[in-house]
Symmetry: C2
Subunit: 495 residues, 2 copies
C-alpha cells in the first residue's frame, strides 16, 4: 500500500517554481467558485507519519488559497463538553458549511490509530471504528460533501532522518510528537495498522491519496494538484453523485394490513386511574433522573405522531415531572440558513444532551422519511438512504450511553377530525390548527405507509419505536411516561 511512497520521489526547484504560480491561481479560482456556488463543503483529512510534512502542507495550502474560506480544525484533547457527549459530536460541530473548506487535522483516523498503536483496544474495536468512519463519510458524500483523504508517508529511514533534523532545528525543536516516534516499534505498528485502515476505508466516494513526504516540492505539488483536480471536477458536475433509488416499492404489504391497524384504539384510562398512574409515573421519572446512575447516561425522547395526536400534551406531562434545568425541548420546524448549509443530521446533533441531561425532540430527524417523503420535499434516493443514516446515528447515541425512546402517537381519522374542529373553536388553541393541517389530512394513507416503513426499518432493540394508542389522551400520556421510565431502568440495570 505504501510501496510507491517509499521510492524517494522528488522534483527539482525549477520545475516547482515554474508550476506553482498557475496552480495557485487555479486553486484560488476554484475556491472562489466553490464559495459562489455554496453547493457543497470540502473536507480535507490530514493523516500519516510524523515528520512527513503534514503541518507544513496545511500551512502552505493556507498560503496558496484564501485562508478566509478555510478552517483548520484540530481534535486533540476533548473538552469536557465533548467528553459528555457521543464521540462524533466534536466532528459534527466543526463541519465546514457549504462553500467552505475544512481541514481536519487529528481526525477520526488519528484517534483510532493512536488507540490501536498504544494498545488501548484490539483489532475488533479498530474495525468498529473503521465502520463508523465509513458510514460517516458515506453519509457526508451522499449529502454532497467532497472529501479528500491524504496520508503523508515516509519510509522508516527517512522518518528517522527527518525527526533528527527537526530536533536539531531551534525553529522546530519545541514540537512534541503525539506518539513516541523515536521508538522504531511505533513506526512499524503505525504503518501496519495504517495499512489496514487505508485498505478498508479507501472507497470510490472518498479515496485515500498516499503522498510521499520526503521532498517538499514533490509533496506540495502533489497535494495541490489533487485538490485542484478534485475541486474542478466537483464544481463542473451539475449535481454531486446521487445513488439511484431502489425501484421496488418500500412497503409491500399485499393484504393492506399495516402496523398501525394492529393497534387497539379503544384503550383508555378512567380519570381516577389516570390521576393515580400519572402521579406514580411522574414521581418515578423524577426519581430516575436524580439517580446517580443517570450521570453515565443522557436521555433523548422523540415525539412523532398524527397532527392533533396530543404530542404537546404528552410532552408537557413528561416535563411536568422534572426540574426544568434538567431538560430541553427542541421543536423541529423548517431548517434555518445555517442548518441548510450543513448535512441533514447536523441540526439534531447540535442538541444532543450532555450526560445527565434530557432532550425532548418535538418532531425529529424522522421528518425526512415522513413529511419530506410524503410531500416530495426530497428525492426518493434521499429518504431511502435516510433509514440507514438514522440507524447509524442512533447506534452512535446508544453506544455512548444515550437512552433513546421514540414515540409515534397514533389516532384514527375520526378522532383527528373531532380535535381539529375543537381546536378551531377554542380561542387559545386556534394557533394550533392551520390550512396545512387540513391538507396533510388528505394524505392519511400515504402517511400511514410511511409510518409503517419507518418503524420496520428503524426500530431495533437499541432504539425501539413505541406506538402509542392516543385516541384517549390519558392512556397515551401514561404509556409515554411509563415507556421512558422502563427504558431508563433497563439502561441502569445493564450498567
Amino acid at each position: 500500500m505504501f510501496e510507491s511512497a517509499e521510492l524517494g520521489h522528488a522534483i527539482d526547484k525549477q520545475t516547482y517554481d515554474a508550476e506553482v504560480p498557475a496552480l495557485r491561481e487555479a486553486l484560488l479560482e476554484a475556491q472562489f467558485e466553490l464559495a459562489q456556488q455554496s453547493r457543497f463543503p470540502v473536507i480535507v483529512l490530514i493523516n500519516g507519519i510524523e515528520g512527513a510534512g503534514k503541518g507544513e502542507t496545511v500551512k502552505l495550502l493556507n498560503e496558496w488559497m484564501d485562508p478566509r474560506l478555510i478552517q483548520v480544525c484540530t481534535f486533540d484533547r476533548q473538552t469536557d463538553e465533548e467528553l459528555a457527549r457521543p464521540p462524533a459530536w466534536r466532528y459534527w460541530r466543526q463541519l465546514p458549511a457549504k462553500g467552505r473548506i475544512g481541514i481536519f487535522f487529528g481526525n477520526w483516523y488519528s484517534q483510532m490509530l493512536q488507540g490501536r498503536v498504544h494498545g488501548e483496544f484490539k483489532d475488533a474495536v479498530l474495525d468498529q471504528a473503521i465502520d463508523s468512519a465509513l458510514s460517516l463519510e458515506q453519509m457526508l458524500c451522499d449529502e454532497g460533501a467532497l472529501i479528500f483523504k491524504f496520508w503523508f508517508h515516509l519510509s522508516k529511514a527517512h522518518m528517522k532522518a527527518r525527526l533528527k533534523t527537526l530536533k536539531d532545528d531551534p525553529q522546530h525543536s519545541w514540537r512534541i510528537s503525539p506518539l513516541d516516534w523515536q521508538q522504531s516499534k511505533t513506526y512499524d505498528k503505525f504503518v501496519r495498522y495504517g495499512e489496514h485502515v487505508l485498505r478498508r476505508t479507501s472507497r470510490d466516494f472518498a479515496p485515500w491519496y498516499v503522498v510521499e513526504g520526503v521532498d517538499e516540492y514533490y509533496r506540495s505539488l502533489t497535494v495541490g494538484r489533487i485538490l485542484l483536480e478534485g475541486l474542478q471536477a466537483a464544481l463542473k458536475a451539475k449535481k454531486r453523485r446521487n445513488t439511484q433509488a431502489h425501484v421496488a416499492p418500500v412497503s409491500a404489504s399485499l393484504d393492506d394490513r399495516g402496523l398501525l391497524d394492529s393497534l387497539d384504539m379503544n384503550l383508555a384510562l378512567s380519570k381516577e386511574d389516570y390521576q393515580e398512574q400519572l402521579a406514580t409515573e411522574q414521581a418515578r421519572l423524577a426519581g430516575l433522573m436524580r439517580d446517580k446512575r443517570m450521570r453515565r447516561h443522557s436521555l433523548v425522547a422523540v415525539f412523532e405522531g398524527n397532527d392533533a395526536a396530543g404530542k404537546g400534551g404528552a410532552i408537557r406531562r413528561v416535563a411536568g415531572a422534572l426540574d426544568p434545568r434538567q431538560y430541553r425541548i427542541v421543536p423541529i420546524a423548517a431548517p434555518t440558513e445555517d442548518e441548510r448549509a450543513q448535512p441533514y443530521l447536523w441540526r439534531f446533533w447540535r442538541h444532543i444532551p450532555a450526560r445527565g441531561m434530557f432532550t425532548v425532540f418535538d418532531r425529529s430527524w424522522y421528518g425526512r422519511v415522513l413529511v419530506e417523503r410524503v410531500e416530495k420535499f426530497c428525492e426518493p434516493a434521499d429518504w431511502l438512504r435516510a433509514y440507514s443514516e438514522i440507524n447509524d446515528f442512533e447506534a452512535q447515541l446508544s453506544n455512548a450511553g444515550v437512552v433513546l425512546v421514540k414515540f409515534w402517537l397514533a389516532i384514527d381519522r375520526d378522532t383527528q377530525y373531532r380535535r381539529f374542529k375543537e381546536r378551531e373553536a377554542t380561542p387559545f388553541k386556534r394557533f394550533k390548527i392551520t390550512e396545512e393541517d387540513w391538507r396533510n389530512r388528505e394524505k392519511w394513507q400515504e402517511y400511514r405507509e410511511a409510518v409503517g416503513d419507518m418503524v420496520d426499518r428503524t426500530s431495533s432493540t437499541l432504539a425501539p419505536w413505541t406506538l402509542v394508542e392516543a385516541n384517549d389522551k390519558r392512556y397515551a400520556r401514561v404509556k409515554v411516561l411509563r415507556t421512558i421510565n422502563d427504558a431508563l431502568e433497563r439502561a441502569f440495570e445493564r450498567d
Copy 2:
C-alpha cells in the same frame, strides 16, 4: 427594599384556582404572539433567597406556558470551554433567539452575589460587576430584548422554617444549597449585598420585581401577572423603545481636517527592506505565539480599511507566520438568519478565541459605525449607541486577557482607482471587484468622516486603533505585523 416582601403576603386557594385558567390562556396567547412576531426575545432572570420558590416557579411557568418555546439555562460550574474565554461568553451563547423566552437561573447576579458573600472580592469589584451587568442589560434592551428580573424573597424566620421543611421532605432532601444557608450570617450578608445590587440595577428598561415567596399561590400569581402584563405591553408597542439620537453632528471638525489627513501616505519600503523586515516580524510573531505566557492570553485582530486597501494580503502575511492550528480567520459578511435573531454583537462573540488562540476578523463589529452608518442600514440611534456598546465589549475582552489590535488600512483615492482597474484586468482577481465597490467609492467623504468618528470614539489604551498607511503594500504589511508583535509583548510584560 425588601420591606413589603416580608409582610407574609398570601392569597387563598379559591382565589388562586379561580384566576389561574384565564391567566394561563392569556400567557399562552401572548407567547404564541411573541413567536409569531419574532421581533424580540424575552429574558427572565431568577434570583433571590434560597427556599423562596425560585425552582418551583420556573417549573410552574413551564407548565403554564408552552415549554417548547422556553429554554431554561443554568450557569453553575463553568465548562473548560467557558473558562478559556471572557466571563460573558457563557451568557451570550445561551441568549434566546427573537420570539423565544430564556429563563436564566444562576445568572450574572447570582455570580456576583455569591462571590461577594463568600468574600472572594470586595465592594469595588462588586460595583464593577454591577456596571457590567447594567451595560449588558442596557444593550440587550436597546436591541429590543424584554428583560424581567425577579427577586424571590423571604424573611429570615420564613427562610429558616422553609429550609427545615425541605430537609424533612424526602422529595426534596437531596437538594444541596449552593450557599450554606443554614448559617444566619449568610442570610444577612445575602440580603445586605442583594439590596445594594437591586438598588443599583433597577432601571426603567429592566426593573427588579421583588416577590415574597412564602405563599405559593401569592408568588405564582404575582409572577404570572407581571410576565403577562409586560409581555402584552411589549407586543402591543409598535417598536421597542428606541432612544432619541443626539441631534448634533458627531464629527464637528470645522476646518475639514480629519485624522486620515494626518497620515503620511508616501511611507514605503524597498523590496529588500521589506523582505528582511517581514521575515523578522513573522519569526517574532511565531515565537510570541509559542511563548508560554500566551497560555494566559488570546489574540484578536480586527482588519478594517478602504476597499482594495490590501486587507487580504496583510492577513495572509500574518497567517503565513503561524501554524494554521493556532488561528482562525472570520470573514464578516451579511448576517445569517440565526445571527439576525440575536443582538448585533452576538455573531462576534461566537468567534472569540479560547486562551492561546488567535482570531482574525476580516471586517468586524465596526461595520455598524462604518458601512451601516454610511449606507443608512440602521438608524442614527443604533450606530450612535454602538460606540459605547463596542467599548464595553472590548473592555470585557481586554479584562479577560484578550490582546486586541485594530487596524484601519488607509489608501488614497488615486491608489484605490488604480487597484480597482488592476483587479478588473487580472483574471483571478476579478471576483474581488464588484459594482458595489465602485458605488462605495462615490461615498469616499462619508466614509472618511465615519472613520474619524470611529477612531475618536473607540480608540483607547485598552484597545487602540492603528491607522496603517497602505498606499505601499509592503510598508503596510510590516507595520501590521510589528503592531501585533508589540501588543503581545506589552501584554506579556504586564503579566
